[in-house]
Symmetry: C2
C-alpha cells in the first residue's frame, strides 16, 4: 500500500475554498487530499454533440491554482461523471459517454491533477479500457487513473451481478481484473479505489483484494460507529485495513469532519508501533524485486554480512544445533570424541603426518565463515556442552578474510581456531578431517545459493561418521497472485540491456519481501538435499544435484496466477530448524525473503482448477539454474530455458 | 509446405552406401534424402551411466562424409532411438532416456545433419520439451527437429489416448500443440513429420493438420495401391496431400523403391500444372507477412500498378458496373442525362460559369486513377451503352500523372477526358459536379486504405443524385489458426528497430496470402461503408467513420487461436460485386490477399467455446487505425492501443 494519507470527498464546489486551505496547510489535523466531481451534468445523458461542446466544468482552473501560485492539483482527485457508461448497450449513450469521458480526462490533465477516478459498473468494459489505454499512451502529463469498485456486491455476491452475466464472473474483483488485462502494460497507471460498506465480505474475498495494488479505500461516514465518548470509530475488521483512505458522506459530529481524519491517523500510528522485527527490517523493500545474491560467484559486502548478523534467531538456532550435536557425538559410541578435556591454547593447527593422527577434540569446519559469527557460536556451544573443539574457519572472500584474521589475532588468539583461506570445494587434502561441518549457504529457495554443490565439494574432508549442520534442507513452492510484482517485472522489460544481468525479466527469479500478494494454495515440497551425501558416488563437482518435479496445486478461488513463491525449511540438527515456510516461519527471523518465479503471461484460474507446475534444477559444469513451465490450467513455455534469462555461477 | 522432395527411410546401415550414391547423384529418378536411425540399442533401455558411455552410433562419420569430400549430411534425417522416453513415469528410464537423447542429438550435430527426428508418444512431454529447447538454444549448428506424430489414433480417436488422459486432449494434434507451446520461440526450429495410415481421418482433422507447419509426410509402402499396370499409386484423398514425403517400409516391386518416388513426383508435376491464376500469381508469397499498402500516404510504384492491372476480373466487373450505371441513369427520370448524343471530341474541360451550367453527358470522376485502367473501362462502357460521358481523371501521384498525361495526349486525345491533378479530398469547387464517382481505393479489409475518408472528402463534388461505384463495402473477419504466421510475426520481434515502420509485430495487421491455415468459424460482417453518405452531415475530413463492433464466434474444434483473418465484399453497382470472402470469392481475382490481425499470445480454444472479439476502427485528425481485443474464451490486452503499433496516415 502507499504512504498513509487521509482524504476527503466533497460534493459542493463551494467547499473547494476550505479544502484548499485544509490541503495546502497540511497540518496533522487536516486532510491530505480532497476529491470532487470534475463536471456536473444535467440528468439527461443523451447529449448531442453541440450540448457536449457547451458543458462547462464544475471545477475551474482558478479553484485549483491560486493567484499566489499555490496549487492543490497534486492533492486533488477528480471524479468522472457517474452517468458516463462507455460500454452501454445503447449506442447513443455510448457515443455521448465516450465524448464526455475524453472531455473530462483532458480537462483533468489540463488542470495537472495527478489522479482521476472512474467507477466500473459491469464485468466487460472493452470500450472503456480502450479509451483509458489510449488516453494514458497519448497524454503527455502523467495522470493516474483510480478505478473505483465496490469491495463486494450483496455480501459476497452469492447471486449478484448484472443480468445475463455469468454469476461466477460477477464479482467486482472480476471487473477490475478484466480491465487490467485489457489495458495491458498501461494498467500500471491504474490504481484501485475500493468502496467499503458497513459489512466486510469474507476473509478470502478481502485477502484477494489486498493482493491487488489498492491505492485507496473509500469509507462513508455512515460506517463509523460511535464510541462511549461519542467519537467515530471503525469496527475491528475495518481497523486492520492498511491503505490510503478517502472519507465521504455527511458529518453530524460537532467537531466536524476532521474527527475522522484524526481517528484514522491514530489507528495508523498505533499499527506502526506494533510492527514485528521482520516488518521493521524489511521496511521499504515491500514488493520490490531484488536479484538473488550469488555469494559463490560474487564476494559479499560488509553491509550484507552486517544485515545477516543482526538476525539473532538464526545464530541462536545454530549455536543450539552445534551444542546438541556436540552432546550427541559425546553419547555416540561411533564418535572419536573423548570427554574430560579442557580447552588448551594452541597456536598452530595440528597437521596430518604420515596418515597417523589422533585428536581428543571435535573438529568443526565453518564453511563460508563470512565475518565469523559461527566461530563465536561454536565456541559458545563448546563451552556450554563442555566438549572441546578445534575450529577450521574456511572462507574464500578475501575481504571477509581480513576481518577474520583480525578476530583470530585478537578475540580467538587463545583458542584452537585456524584460518583456511580458499574455496571449500578445493580444500587441501592435507587438512585433518572434520567431525562437524557448519555452514549457512542457504538462499531464499534453500539450494539456490548452491549449498549442495559447495558441501558436496567439501565432503572429502568430512569423516565417515561426520555430520553436517544443516543436515538437510527442502524447498517449497506455492502459486502466487500479485499484480504488483507482475507489473514490476514487466516494466523492467524495456530497460533491459547488455549492461544489466537480467535479460528477460519475466523469466528471472527474484527475491521479494512479499506484501501485496496471496497464495492460491499451500506450498508444496520441491527439492530436498541431505548432507553428507550417502546415496550415490560424487563424481566431480557437479555431482548429480539436478532435479525435476511435477507439482499439482488446486486454486482456492478465482484468481490471476502471476508466478510462484519459493520458501525453504532447513534441518540444522535433530529438531532444530530454520524455516521461511509461511505455515511455520521461524519467529522473527528476517534473513530470507521468498524467491518469486514469475510467469511471462499471467494465467486466469478458476476456483478448484488444477495448476500443474513442472520445475527443474539444472546443472552444467559452470552453472546452476531453474526452469519452470505449466501444463494446466494452460500450457506455458519453459521459462528460463537453458538458463537463458538467469543462471547461478559455480 | 516446403519444396517438394521425396525421401526414403532405410533400416540397414549397409544401405547407406547405396543411399549415398542415390542422394549425391540427385537425378530425377533418385530419392532426394534418406533417413535412418542414429543409434541402435539393445532391447534393455535401463542403462547404467557406464553402458550409456559405451554405446557407439549406428551411423559413422565416414558414412556421411566421404573421403572425396562429398557429404550427405544435408540430405540425411537422423532418427532418435524409439525407446527413448524422457517423460517416462519410471525415473530410471527417464534419466537414461535424457542422457541418451543428449548423446544422440550431439552426435547428429557433430555429423552436421540438418534434421533430427523424434517421436511423441503422449500428450504431456515437459521434460522432452525442455531438453529440445535447451539443445536448440545452446547448439551452435542449426539442427532442425522433426517431431513425428501419427495423423490420428484409431480413426479419429473417438476413445483413443493413454490411460488417465483427458480424452478431449488425447489426439496427436494436442501432443504436438502442447510441445510447441512449451518450446516457446524455439519451436521455430521444429518441423512436423506426420505419419499417415492407409485410412485418412475426417476432413476437419486433416484441415487442422494442414494449418500446422508440416515439414514432411511419412508414408509406408503398405498404403500404396496397385494400378492396372501393377504400379503403386495412392488413393484419391492421399493424392491431394501436398508436402515433402518420406517413404518407408518394404518394396516388393520388381523395379525397386524408385517407383514410389517416380509416382509422387508425377503427382506433383500434374498438380503444379493445374494451379489457378490466384495460386500462380501468389507463388512465393504464401504465408509471408506483408505490410499493408498505404496508397494515400505513399505513392505506389509502377510495378504495383502493373500487378493490379493484370487482374482482368476486377476491370471487367468495373466496366460492367459503369455500363449498368449508365443504362440505369438513362432510365432514371431524376437523372440529368439526355439520350441520342454522339461522342463529340472536346479539347477543353467545360468550367462552371456563374453557377449556370448544363450538360448532356454523364460526368464521371475517376478518383485515384492510377495509370488509367478505369478511364479505358469507362470509355468502353460508354460505347457499349451508347451513353456519352465526360471523364475527369483525378490522381495525386505525380509519377502516375506522367503516364496519364501521355495517354491523354495519345490514346484519349479525341475523347472528352480531362486530367485533374491533386488529392481528391481537396478538389477545386470550380469543377462541375459528378454524376458517377468511380474509385478503387479498397484494401484487403475493405476500408483499410481509407476509401471512406477519401470518398467522403470528395463528396462535395458529387451531384445530389450522383452515385458512387462502389456503392458500399463491408469487411468480414474470422478467427484464424496458423502457427506459421504466429511464428513469423513473433520472430520479427527481435529485428524491430527505429528503422522499420513495424514496432510491435504482434499488434500489427499484415496482408498475407494464407495457405497454411484454417478458419475456426465462418467470417462475420464487421464494418460497412456506403457512398454517397446520407446518414449524417460530414464535418471536416474525418467525419465519423470510427466504428466499434463486438462479434461472437464459436470454435469448430479444439484449436490454437493465433489471430483473425479479414476479408471484404464490395458492391460496385446493383448486383455487380467484388469479394474476397472465402465463401463467395470473385473467381480468379487475385488483387487482394486477406488481412491478418495477430494476437500477441496464442489462445487455446475448445470445440464449441465462444470467441468474443471487440474490434475498433479509430479515427484521429491525422490517422486511422484498428484496435482489437478478446474477452472470451480469455481476455487479452487491447492490441495496437492508440495506434501505437501501426496506423494509416490520412
Amino acid at each position: 500500500m502507499h504512504s498513509s494519507l487521509v482524504g476527503l470527498r466533497i460534493s459542493q464546489t463551494e467547499d473547494l475554498k476550505t479544502a484548499y486551505t485544509d490541503v495546502v496547510s497540511m497540518g496533522y489535523c487536516r486532510y491530505a487530499f480532497v476529491g470532487s466531481d470534475l463536471f456536473q451534468h444535467s440528468d439527461t445523458p443523451k447529449l448531442t454533440d453541440e450540448k457536449i461542446e457547451a458543458i462547462l466544468p464544475a471545477i475551474r482552473s482558478d479553484q485549483i491554482h491560486s493567484d499566489a501560485g499555490d496549487s492543490i492539483a497534486g492533492n486533488f482527485v477528480g471524479y468522472v461523471s457517474s452517468w458516463i457508461d462507455c460500454d452501454a448497450p445503447d449506442a447513443a449513450l455510448r457515443t455521448a459517454s465516450e465524448k464526455c469521458l475524453l472531455k473530462e480526462l483532458n480537462w483533468a490533465a489540463h488542470l495537472a491533477l495527478r489522479v482521476v477516478c472512474i467507477s466500473l459498473r459491469r464485468l466487460t468494459n472493452p470500450n472503456l479500457a480502450r479509451i483509458l489505454t489510449s488516453f494514458t499512451i497519448t497524454e503527455y502529463a502523467p495522470v493516474r487513473i483510480w478505478i473505483s469498485v465496490p469491495m463486494s456486491l450483496l455480501e459476497d455476491f452469492p447471486d449478484g451481478g448484472e443480468e445475463g452475466e455469468d454469476p461466477r464472473e460477477s464479482s467486482p474483483w472480476h471487473w477490475w481484473t478484466q480491465l487490467v488485462i485489457l489495458a495491458g502494460d498501461t494498467s500500471e497507471s491504474f490504481g484501485l479505489l475500493l468502496e467499503l460498506g458497513a459489512d466486510l465480505p469474507s476473509e478470502s474475498v478481502i485477502r484477494r483484494w489486498l493482493s491487488e495494488p489498492v491505492s485507496c479505500l473509500s469509507l462513508s461516514t455512515d460506517i463509523f460507529l460511535l464510541n462511549s465518548k461519542g467519537y467515530p470509530v471503525l469496527s475491528g475488521p475495518h481497523q486492520s485495513l492498511n491503505s490510503q483512505i478517502i472519507v465521504h458522506g455527511e458529518c453530524k459530529h460537532e467537531r466536524g469532519l476532521t474527527v475522522f481524519q484524526q481517528y484514522i491517523n491514530w489507528l495508523w500510528k498505533t499499527a506502526n508501533e506494533n510492527k514485528t522485527p521482520y516488518e521493521k527490517h524489511s521496511r521499504g523493500l515491500e514488493d520490490q524485486l531484488q536479484e538473488p545474491l550469488q555469494p559463490l560467484q560474487d564476494n559479499l559486502s560488509s553491509t550484507t554480512y552486517g544485515v545477516f548478523e543482526m538476525d539473532s534467531y538464526k545464530y541462536t538456532a545454530y549455536e543450539e544445533a552445534i551444542y546438541m550435536a556436540l552432546l550427541d557425538r559425546r553419547k555416540n559410541p561411533g564418535s572419536v570424541f573423548f570427554t574430560s578435556e579442557d580447552f588448551p591454547p594452541l597456536t598452530d593447527a595440528p597437521m596430518r603426518t604420515n596418515g597417523a593422527y589422533t585428536t581428543d577434540k571435535q573438529v568443526i569446519f565453518i564453511l563460508g565463515a563470512g565475518r565469523g559469527p559461527f566461530v563465536a557460536a561454536s565456541l559458545q556451544a563448546s563451552e556450554r556442552s563442555g566438549c572441546p573443539v578445534r575450529i577450521y574457519v574456511v572462507e574464500k572472500n578475501p575481504n571477509a578474510l581480513l576481518t577474520l584474521r583480525h578476530r583470530l589475532e585478537t578475540e580467538w588468539k587463545d583458542r584452537d581456531v585456524h584460518l583456511v583461506p580458499g574455496d571449500m570445494r578445493w580444500l587441501s587434502t592435507d587438512l585433518e578431517k572434520a567431525d562437524i561441518f557448519v555452514s549457512e549457504l542457504l538462499g531464499s529457495f534453500g539450494d539456490n545459493e548452491l549449498s549442495p554443490e559447495c558441501l558436496d565439494g567439501a565432503q572429502h574432508l568430512l569423516k565417515d561418521n561426520g555430520i553436517s549442520i544443516p543436515s538437510s534442507y527442502t524447498s517449497y513452492i506455492a502459486p502466487l497472485q500479485s499484480l504488483r510484482i507482475h507489473q514490476e517485472a514487466a516494466c523492467h522489460r524495456d530497460i533491459c540491456s547488455a549492461n544489466t544481468r537480467v535479460q528477460k525479466p519475466l523469466e528471472t527469479p527474484y527475491v521479494v519481501r512479499l506484501q501485496n500478494f496471496q497464495l492460491l494454495d499451500d506450498p508444496k515440497a520441491a527439492f530436498t538435499f541431505t548432507h553428507p551425501r550417502k546415496d550415490s558416488p560424487i563424481s566431480g563437482l557437479t555431482g548429480d544435484n539436478s532435479r525435476f518435479t511435477t507439482l499439482t496445486f488446486t486454486a482456492s478461488q478465482d484468481a490471476m496466477l502471476h508466478g510462484f513463491a519459493g520458501y525453504f525449511d532447513a534441518v540444522l540438527f535433530g529438531k532444530i530448524d530454520l524455516s521461511t515456510h509461511p505455515h511455520h516461519h521461524s519467529p522473527n527471523m528476517f534473513s530470507w525473503f521468498p524467491l518469486v518465479f514469475p510467469l511471462e503471461t499471467s494465467v486466469p484460474v478458476r476456483t478448484g482448477e488444477q495448476i500443474v507446475l513442472h520445475l527443474w534444477r539444472c546443472v552444467s559444469t559452470r552453472h546452476v539454474w531453474y526452469e519452470w513451465a505449466l501444463t494446466a490450467p494452460v500450457t506455458t513455455k519453459v521459462h528460463n530455458a537453458a538458463g537463458s534469462a538467469y543462471k547461478i555461477g559455480l
